[in-house]
Symmetry: D2
Subunit: 300 residues, 4 copies
């Protein structure tokens, strides 16, 4: 396994050269493009890692999976009365459909509109509870969000603001848009390592067992929803292509992370900041393709 990791890193690190680090906020553009790390945890808890696995980066869209998890723990499948579970060819920040009278909810929790409509269903102090959940899953008590990135997102995210106000105008969220956004920006600014992602991934891959205090939803139902929805939309509008090429339920973030959960077998966390033209970690995508082939990870 060590050798496999070494090889897939070596094979794919060149892809990072062709990618571009996210630059829509200053805080993100400062990251070191050469960071490259992978961490794998198998179903028995064995951990394999290679490269920059202890470097912290912002979780960004990968937080959508955690938000969905907590919303499901709080509400069960009633969550899907307010957000769909389907794929889409529209980009992650699409909003036009929410203005069409026959559309009743965002298409899935992996696009921004759907993530906001999902986290709006989390009870209590959302960011506190999300941080606690990640700390509980990763057993990493230091997990927190970056104030700098949060403030940076907050002063720029015009499209997200448009989305939140539109959701409110259409009655798709009950919360004040500014509060929903404030939480969303915090959640995206949570800092993790590749190993943290691997820990969350294996938790999901293994059926979300344990953490009894978190709601009464059947844990198999929980993990299957997460895995299915990651498959349908975790890689945005190329999720189907990724399903055919890689075949592992995954979620990527513009911070350069990819979190992949091989059902019943493995959790994977990858970190490499430069992004390809679809907004996914360029080296990360390549590594997932190599790994899937070598370790026969595809669910298909």
């Amino acid at each position: 396994m060590e050798k496999v990791l070494e090889e897939v890193l070596e094979e794919n690190q060149v892809l990072a050269k062709h990618g571009k680090v996210a630059s829509y906020i200053p805080a993100l553009s400062k990251v070191n493009p050469n960071h490259l790390g992978i961490c794998i945890i198998d179903a028995n808890g064995n951990t394999y890692k290679k490269g920059d696995c202890e470097v912290k980066f912002t979780i960004q869209s990968i937080s959508k999976v955690i938000g969905l998890m907590l919303a499901l723990m709080d509400n069960g499948e009633k969550v899907f009365e307010k957000v769909g579970r389907e794929g889409t060819e529209d980009p992650f920040n699409t909003l036009y459909k929410l203005d069409l009278p026959y559309i009743k909810k965002p298409v899935n929790p992996m696009i921004n509109a759907g993530a906001i409509a999902t986290t709006a269903q989390i009870k209590g102090d959302k960011i506190k509870r999300i941080l606690e959940l990640i700390r509980d899953i990763t057993e990493n008590l230091n997990i927190d969000y970056s104030r700098e990135v949060y403030l940076s997102e907050k002063t720029t995210g015009e499209k997200n603001k448009a989305i939140a106000h539109l959701l409110r105008a259409r009655g798709m969220i009950d919360e004040e848009p500014d509060e929903a956004l404030d939480h969303y920006f915090k959640q995206c600014s949570i800092e993790v390592t590749a190993c943290d992602l691997a820990k969350i991934a294996i938790f999901i891959a293994n059926g979300c067992k344990g953490l009894k205090s978190y709601g009464e939803i059947n844990r198999k139902t929980l993990s299957r929803n997460l895995l299915a929805i990651m498959t349908m939309g975790g890689m945005y509008n190329i999720s189907g292509q990724y399903a055919a090429e890689v075949g592992v339920p995954s979620k990527s973030g513009v911070g350069g992370g990819i979190m992949a959960a091989v059902p019943g077998r493995m959790g994977i966390g990858i970190f490499s900041p430069p992004l390809d033209e679809n907004g996914h970690s360029a080296a990360g995508y390549g590594i997932m393709k190599s790994l899937s082939r070598r370790l026969d990870l595809s669910i298909f």
Copy 2:
């Protein structure tokens, strides 16, 4: 297994009572709503069946999987230059996006527009080759299409005609729209039994091995594309919900059939004509939920 089949049929046959047989063409509305059959073939070739497994019905949209298979055999993954692989919340017969200038191809081969753009890539005498392929897979030389249903579809399918002409107007197909439609209507009118569907499903589930004369595409690539695309769009605009609830790559047709392929394990064919409000076999959907739970079939 026999007992499981008996029980899931018994549990779910009541759902057929609440469904409605497709009636958009007279030929379809004449089917017997009480027919109910299931056939399962496992990876070792063992066959289990219960109910009306030898009753013929029209394959309808399930033919989209065969059309995609043959197009992939003929062209490899170049097929996806002309059709996407993503899910969608739009209905099976949607066309509005194809009129938007930035949209370059139908979203996936499981919606009607995508199916027409896919079968347009099949070489030679399309219907002859599709029939041969199904005969070869099922080893059922009697497979043919129903002239009555074909003619019925041909004189009614206004939406499909609009789709074909729009595809041509946008340069998304090179074929004459009337020819593309003529083939499409024939393909949808192919008559199969639940056991024929199970045979096709196990062929896909088992990696599309054999049938060497059918093109040079890597068979693993072929089966993974089929399974992934069935997951993304095989149950139309509730594919994601079905993925979470059932978790088996499947395709349904308005003729009342469902074809489900459990990767590496099993092929399933179900027949029960009454449809639910989403256009899927009502009892068939229920049976898949029961089977998935009892036999732990979900890929997630």
Copy 3:
């Protein structure tokens, strides 16, 4: 007046050099790009003309005004239950909105979809009656349609075919799409001269008086609808810009014609085949701007 015509022709003929003759069907691409003619008829019946006023060309989209006129004569304002009267920024051959469930009719009779939904309401032998109406208005018994252009349109117009089938699929027309199209292609192929257009224009500008046998709609209501709808959509998706710049209810066609009706004052017919990037006669648009300024024709 003679002098004005001479000058506006001279000023604007250079614009024809920068335009391009319509070439989507062979029959249209053969026209002489140097033809340039204008004919004006005032409210007292005085005729002024300059240039190639007796050259025949196909009426194309200008026929939409005649089709609307006859539909209104046949049905009164009930016509607008099946077609709107609003402007749009969408192009003349748009169809995506007709696929959205909340849209109940084409936006106006000046886009292709709206024209087809309008002429579908004409009673009896549509093309015979349209030809008769034009002959009666122009007192030109030779008006007929070009079989060559008609056949050419018929074998190409894929987008129009998509529109007609979609209208039928949505229940927006009751007619067979092929019949509706057949009529539409004939109507667009009618051959007229600049002077014929001027005669039709002054008929409309003067309140559609006379021709008592053509239905019972109030003639003021008829002419006001025609003038208002030409203003809203006669120059397609730049109708508003044209309203501000020229201010005369007008309709253009890709054959190179422009028909303009100055309410109560004047009918204008212009012919110059090369089209600008919006699909309007390039010199024709310029001439209308010059004329409007010099003769103070704007209704605004």
Copy 4:
């Protein structure tokens, strides 16, 4: 004339009974539904009035015309690089098109998105200058905006907030969305009387003569743009229907006002709060139909 006014009021006041006063903000729902007033000023400055002509109400969307006027005075027709001049069947608060990549600007200055993109082009202290312009035109130095309505709009207008942020995200405005909105809400809260509207209307109808200090745009160009755009979109998505039925460039507001400018002849201000199903003053619409017929006001 006095008699005409008396009669049209009497004929149409019943329509107010079937309408409903705008209630989306508390400040609006408190108005007296029985108020009914009309003021007409002809080209020679003669004023005719009847009913509640001195009651103040909020100008709401009618301010869009003033905003456009000032933007044109400041920038000339360059304004239209950022906003179109076309009609639309989409509602006044539509935004979906602004999310489509091929759309470059709002369709016209009469829908909310277009109004925000238009007023964003006004130089200096926008609300101060708009108030000054109205005071100068109406010679009413007391014109001001209602702090109560402004604050009420500000705390509710979720859809407008979505629009402003989307405009910014797409680069369609350069201003901070919150500032653009703040101005927009103030502008909509300006209080006027029916006679104030009549004064603005006759100013536009008469070619926007005078007020030399307000920019160098040709005054004929200015008034024609205003009149053309009011025709294309002043009555929102029934502007074309209104053009056919009434034929007078007009703008309505949810405060119950209608401002109508008969080119070269007359300015009209009407006030009656109850709105019809399209959001226009119910009695106001009826009065305009009656007046147009009796006084032959239609430009068509």
